[in-house]
C-alpha cells in the first residue's frame, strides 16, 4: 500500500486520486476516492451518499477554492494538485482554504510533491503530503522542519515573529 506523510508521521494510505483524461466521462471507482472539483460539483449528492469518509475532492491550480465552500464543513479530505513542483498556485489555494474558508479537515498535497517543498507547504496549511513515489518519504519527513522559526505570519503560525517575542534593538536603544 502506498505511504503518505500525515500530520508528521508516515502512514499507509488507500485513497485513490481520480484524474479523468480529457473528454472522458469520469467513472468514480469503489473505495476511498479523491475526485476533481468538476466531478464533485456535478455529482456531489450521489457522491455524498457514499459517506463522508469515502470521498475527497481535489483542486487544480485554476480552481476557485471558494467553489468548495458549501461543503468544506463536511469534507474530511481536500487535496490540492501540484502539476509541477514549481507551480506555486497550490500554496495560495491552501492558504485560502484554511484562512478564508476555515477548512479544518485533512489538506493533502498531491502531484509533484517533493521533500524540499514540504516545509513551505506545511506552513500554508497542508498537513498531508503524497510525496512523489520515487522519493524517500522517510527522508522527506526528516526534512519537514528545516527552520525553527519564521518571520511572517502564515497558517501554521499566524503571528509574525516580532509579535511573538521581543526582537533585538541596537545597543543603547530599546523599549
Amino acid at each position: 500500500m502506498p505511504e503518505i506523510i500525515l500530520r508528521g508521521a508516515v502512514v499507509h494510505d488507500d485513497w485513490q486520486v481520480l484524474r479523468p483524461s480529457g473528454g472522458q466521462q469520469a467513472v468514480v471507482p469503489a473505495g476511498r476516492v479523491i475526485v476533481p472539483l468538476p466531478v464533485w460539483q456535478a455529482d456531489h449528492e450521489a457522491l455524498s451518499l457514499r459517506g463522508g469518509v469515502g470521498v475527497g475532492v481535489w483542486l487544480a491550480g485554476t480552481d476557485e477554492p471558494g467553489a468548495l465552500a458549501p461543503w468544506l464543513g463536511a469534507l474530511k479530505l481536500v487535496a490540492v494538485d501540484f502539476p509541477k513542483f514549481t507551480d506555486g498556485r497550490g500554496y495560495s489555494i491552501a492558504h485560502l482554504l484554511r484562512s478564508r474558508h476555515a477548512y479544518r479537515g485533512e489538506l493533502r498535497a498531491i502531484g509533484d510533491v517533493l521533500p524540499d517543498q514540504l516545509f513551505y507547504m506545511s506552513r500554508v496549511g497542508f498537513d498531508a503530503f503524497a510525496v512523489r513515489a520515487d522519493k524517500d518519504i522517510r527522508q522527506a519527513l526528516r526534512s519537514l522542519q528545516p527552520f525553527s522559526d519564521s518571520y511572517q505570519g502564515s497558517w501554521s503560525n499566524p503571528v509574525p515573529a516580532y509579535r511573538r517575542h521581543e526582537r533585538g534593538w541596537p545597543r543603547g536603544a530599546g523599549a
Binding site: D87, G88, S92, Y120, S143, F147, D149, S150
Partner: protein
C-alpha cells in the same frame, strides 16, 4: 545600519545548513538537476558559461566595512580576485565552485549577509535609494521599510514559486533614485497633507521583452499596511499570473491584461480580508527597525571649508572630480562621495578585492564604516567630511576609483553579458569598453554632459537598457551578435529630469565593432542640435528620434549593419 538579532542569525544559519544538504544530495545524485535548479537559484546560484555564478544580496545597497572586507575575502579565496556589482544592489562572483558555495554562504552568514532569494521566481532583494538617510531631498528614510519588507518576504511560504521573478523597490526622496516605475512593485514614500506617512503604490512595471512603466494602483497606503498590501498583490499575481508562457509570466502582463483599475480592484478585494491582520506593522516594530538607522554621531562642522575651497581653485582635476563625484549631504560639512567603478578598460561594476578592502578602509577613516552600492553600479561613501575630500580623492585616484565620469557617457551601466552569462545573446562588456575608449577625452566627455548609456546582453534587461538615454541591447541573429539601439529611456532620476520612460528603438541593429561609431554619430547629432543647457535626453525629448535615426543610418558605417553586405 541594521544588525542581525538572534532570529536573523538563526534563519540564515539554518538556511546554510539546508542548502549544504541540498548540494550534498545533488552531488550524490539524489536530487535531479531539474529539482535542484529552483533550490540553488533561491540561494543565488546560477550555472554559467564557465562556472557557477553566485549572486549575493546587498539589501537596499547597504554594506558595512566588515561586510565589504568579507566580500573581498570571498573574491580572493573562492573566486579570481574580483566581484561584479549589479544593477539590483547585488554582487556576483563568476568563478566559484559549486562544492564551495555552502562554505561561501557560511562565510557570508558570519557577517550577516546571505544570497537568499537573489534569483528564482520569488521576491528578490528589495532595492532602494543609495543616498537614503543622507540625501537632502529625502521625504523619509526608506531603509526601515525595506528591511521590514526584506524580513517579511524572506522564506515567505506562499510566494516561493511565483509565475516569475518579483522585484520590489522603495524610494523615499523627491528624486526617484530607485527606478520604481520599472519594478513589479514600486513604493514611493509620501507624506499626506495631514502628516501621515504612507506609500504611493505602483505595480506592474518592468523591463524585459515587454517593457512597461507601472501604473499607480493606490495613491496612498498608510505605512503599517505595507506587508499586507504587498501580500494581496502577490496573492492575486500568484493565482492569476500566466504560467503557460515564460515571456508573459511577469506581473506586468497580468496588470496590462486586466487593466490597472481592475487589477487594483482585485487587490483591494483580496486585501480587505487581511487588512489590519497580524502582519500589520506595529508602531513598536517600526520603531525597533528604524532605531538601527538613526543618524551616526555627526560632528558639528562648518558648512564651508576654506582649505577645500582653495584646493578647488588650485587643481582643475580635483575640481572636476568634485563636480561629478561629490553629492550634497543633509548635514553641514559632510558630503556623499561616489566612487566610480567605470574606469575605462574595466568592466562596468567590477571591483577587485584590493579595491574593496581600500574602500572598506576609507569608509572607516572618512566616515562611519558604511558603504552604499548604487543601481548604477558604483560605490558610495555616504558620510565624508568636506575637509577630507582631497585626501580621499588622492587615494581613490591611485586606486582607480576616481574617474570623474559619474552621470556622464562613460559611466555605462552594463550587465556581464555573453562573456559570462549563459542567458546572454551577445557580449556587453566589450561594447562598453569600446565606447569608453572612444570617449576617453575628459573635456569632451564633460562637454557632452549628463548621459546614461545602458547595455544589456539579452532581453532580460539586467543592464536596464530600456531606461537608458541611449539603450543598447544585444541580440542574436543566426548565431551572430548584433546590437539594437534605443533612445529616450529614463529611469525616473534627475538625470532624465525626473521622467520615467521606455526608450524607442531607432532602427536595424549594428555589429559590435560599429557601436563606438554609432554612439559618436548620436553625440555629433546631439551637439549640433542642442540648445543651451539642453541635455542629450532633453534634445531627444524635444525632437524625437527622427534626426538621430537619419544621422546614424544616413551613410554606411565601417563594419556594416544589419541587411548590409559589408563584412566586418
Amino acid at each position: 545600519m541594521y544588525r542581525y538579532d538572534q532570529l536573523d542569525r538563526t534563519m540564515v544559519a539554518e538556511r546554510v545548513a539546508q542548502y549544504r544538504d541540498q548540494v550534498r544530495r545533488f552531488l550524490a545524485g539524489e536530487l535531479g538537476e531539474d529539482e535542484f535548479r529552483p533550490l540553488r537559484l533561491q540561494n543565488g546560484l546560477y550555472i554559467q558559461r564557465h562556472a557557477p555564478m553566485l549572486r549575493i544580496a546587498i539589501p537596499y545597497g547597504l554594506l558595512s566595512a566588515r561586510q565589504l572586507r568579507m566580500l573581498a575575502s570571498i573574491a580572493r579565496r573562492y573566486d579570481r580576485g574580483y566581484g561584479h556589482f549589479t544593477t539590483r544592489q547585488n554582487i556576483q562572483y563568476n568563478w566559484p565552485r559549486l562544492e564551495d558555495t555552502p562554505d561561501i554562504l557560511a562565510d557570508l552568514a558570519s557577517v550577516e549577509m546571505h544570497a537568499i532569494q537573489t534569483s528564482g521566481n520569488c521576491v528578490r532583494n528589495i532595492t532602494s535609494d543609495e543616498f537614503a538617510g543622507v540625501a537632502p531631498d529625502e521625504i523619509l528614510d526608506p531603509r526601515p521599510f525595506a528591511e521590514i519588507l526584506r524580513q517579511w518576504s524572506t522564506f515567505h511560504p506562499e510566494f516561493a514559486f511565483l509565475p516569475r521573478k518579483f522585484k520590489i523597490a522603495i524610494n523615499g526622496a523627491a528624486e526617484d533614485r530607485a527606478a520604481v516605475a520599472f519594478h513589479d512593485i514600486g513604493l514611493h514614500l509620501v507624506r499626506a497633507p495631514d502628516g501621515a506617512i504612507g506609500f504611493r503604490v505602483i505595480a506592474g512595471g518592468g523591463m524585459g521583452r515587454t517593457p512597461m512603466l507601472g501604473p499607480a494602483i493606490r495613491e496612498f497606503l498608510p505605512w503599517r499596511h505595507m506587508n499586507t498590501y504587498v501580500e494581496a498583490i502577490l496573492r492575486v499575481y500568484n493565482r492569476h499570473g500566466r504560467r503557460d508562457n515564460l515571456f508573459k509570466a511577469r506581473i506586468k502582463i497580468l496588470v496590462k491584461a486586466l487593466g490597472a483599475q481592475e487589477f487594483a480592484r482585485q487587490v483591494e478585494q483580496e486585501w480587505a480580508h487581511t487588512k489590519d491582520g497580524q502582519d500589520t506593522i506595529s508602531d513598536h516594530e517600526l520603531a525597533r527597525v528604524a532605531a538601527y538607522f538613526e543618524p551616526p554621531a555627526y560632528e558639528n562642522l562648518p558648512a564651508v571649508d576654506a582649505g577645500i575651497e582653495a584646493q578647488l581653485r588650485q587643481s582643475a582635476a580635483f575640481a572636476r572630480w568634485v563636480g561629478r563625484a561629490v553629492r550634497p549631504h543633509r548635514v553641514a560639512g559632510y558630503r556623499a562621495v561616489v566612487l566610480s567603478l567605470k574606469k575605462t578598460g574595466v568592466p562596468p561594476g567590477d571591483a577587485t578585492a584590493q579595491q574593496m578592502e581600500l574602500v572598506a578602509g576609507w569608509s572607516e577613516r572618512f566616515g562611519f564604516g558604511e558603504i552604499r552600492v548604487s543601481h548604477e553600479q558604483n560605490l558610495i561613501l555616504p558620510d565624508v567630511r568636506l575637509a577630507d575630500l582631497r585626501a580621499l580623492w588622492e587615494e581613490a585616484r591611485a586606486a582607480g576609483l576616481a574617474t570623474p565620469n559619474l552621470g556622464l557617457l562613460t559611466d555605462i551601466i552594463s550587465c556581464p553579458g555573453g562573456d559570462f552569462c549563459s542567458l546572454a545573446n551577445a557580449k556587453s562588456i566589450p561594447v562598453a569598453l569600446g565606447i569608453q575608449h572612444r570617449f576617453d577625452d575628459l573635456d569632451y566627455l564633460h562637454d557632452i554632459g549628463e548621459l546614461n548609456i545602458n547595455i544589456s546582453g539579452c532581453m532580460n534587461s539586467c543592464g536596464h537598457h530600456h531606461a537608458g538615454h541611449i539603450g543598447i541591447l544585444g541580440v542574436d541573429k543566426d548565431g551572430e551578435e548584433w546590437y539594437q539601439v534605443s533612445l529616450g529611456g529614463a529611469d525616473g532620476s534627475d538625470a532624465g529630469r525626473g521622467r520615467s520612460a521606455i526608450g524607442k528603438v531607432i532602427g536595424p541593429s549594428f555589429k559590435a565593432g560599429d557601436m563606438p561609431d554609432v554612439v559618436s554619430r548620436l553625440i555629433d547629432i546631439y551637439v549640433g542640435l542642442r540648445r543651451e543647457d539642453e541635455r542629450f535626453i532633453d534634445t531627444v525629448a524635444r525632437l524625437g528620434i527622427a534626426p538621430f535615426k537619419a544621422g546614424v543610418y544616413g551613410s554606411p558605417l565601417r563594419a556594416g549593419r544589419e541587411g548590409a553586405t559589408v563584412d566586418a
